[in-house]
Symmetry: C2
Subunit: 186 residues, 2 copies
């Protein structure tokens, strides 16, 4: 019962594909799959063998970044009050969205896919933790859920880098104000 070992060349090809995709996506927004294969030095079929869909590839490309956001949630909660932790987490998401335009789409489409599978997924769970803490201490409205927030911060995928610099934080403030629980709420 030895584990079905992957052939060495397959592992190597997989890494090369991811690296090529990363290199290409940082210099422009669109990602041409044939270009990825060419740069990685593999046939197009090899790309499809490793990553059946474009999303599979992008998920892998942004894996580390998404992980960092996921890990940040409990860390922030340990060091700040819930509402402040959420605000700081938003800020972090905005920073990622500014530099790596695709992270955010990967995050949201990931959440969407996971939602249909009756699971929140890693990012959804992280956000859920933040929201629950804020509801528990009465600083966040009780009628807000993860999907609401994902939809609201989706504006980050609509703006260019320059506009994000001057406007993203402000719009996030407006959103936070909408999520805040008021004295007269039930």
């Amino acid at each position: 019962m030895t584990p079905p070992r992957r052939r060495a060349d397959a592992t190597e090809n997989r890494s090369r594909i991811i690296e090529a995709a990363q290199a290409l996506i940082t210099r422009q927004d669109e990602l041409r799959l044939n270009e990825v294969a060419k740069r990685a030095g593999v046939g197009q079929g090899t790309l499809y063998r490793h990553f059946p869909t474009r999303e599979d590839l992008l998920a892998e490309v942004y894996r580390h970044d998404v992980d960092e956001l996921v890990v940040a949630a409990p860390t922030l909660l340990a060091e700040h009050k819930p509402f402040e932790a959420l605000a700081l987490w938003f800020r972090r998401v905005a920073d990622y969205a500014r530099v790596k335009r695709g992270v955010f789409s990967a995050v949201t489409s990931g959440v969407q896919r996971d939602l249909s599978g009756h699971s929140l997924g890693p990012i959804g769970d992280a956000l859920q933790t933040l929201l629950a803490a804020g509801k528990a201490d009465g600083t966040i409205r009780s009628d807000v859920d993860v999907r609401d927030v994902i939809l609201l911060i989706g504006f980050l995928s609509h703006i260019e880098e320059a506009e994000a610099d001057e406007r993203a934080h402000h719009v996030l403030e407006l959103i936070l104000d909408g999520l805040r629980r008021r004295a007269d709420d039930s």
Copy 2:
């Protein structure tokens, strides 16, 4: 100096193209330009002659709908308090977005294009009127501008029809709460 009259067949073709595009877009999200030309019974070149870009065509397809939204703003303001007028206008935008998925993209991309030309455009002006009224009577934060609001309601273009039914109004409420001016604001 008679106006340079358009040839009758050109006018006719233009109408047929718009009608074909409307018919096709109501039955599915994407719009294939060659398909539009085929259904309209014109050559592809004719389509490009009348509508150099895809956006030009879409703007024309949704022209009536956008006009209705523009006209609604002053009407609502005449009959309701500013904040309520804004809430009702949001509701109307959401209703359009639900049925005609593309209206909203046309609206936002229109605003974006107009913004770069240092003008708000028709929809931007309508929204500007609503915001100004709310700021004047102290119900809307003074640090909010048209672009902020357009970005916030952009979530409408991310959701499917079923989800819009159960969630759009709620998320719009959250946004309105974020735009509302508080007692302690400066």
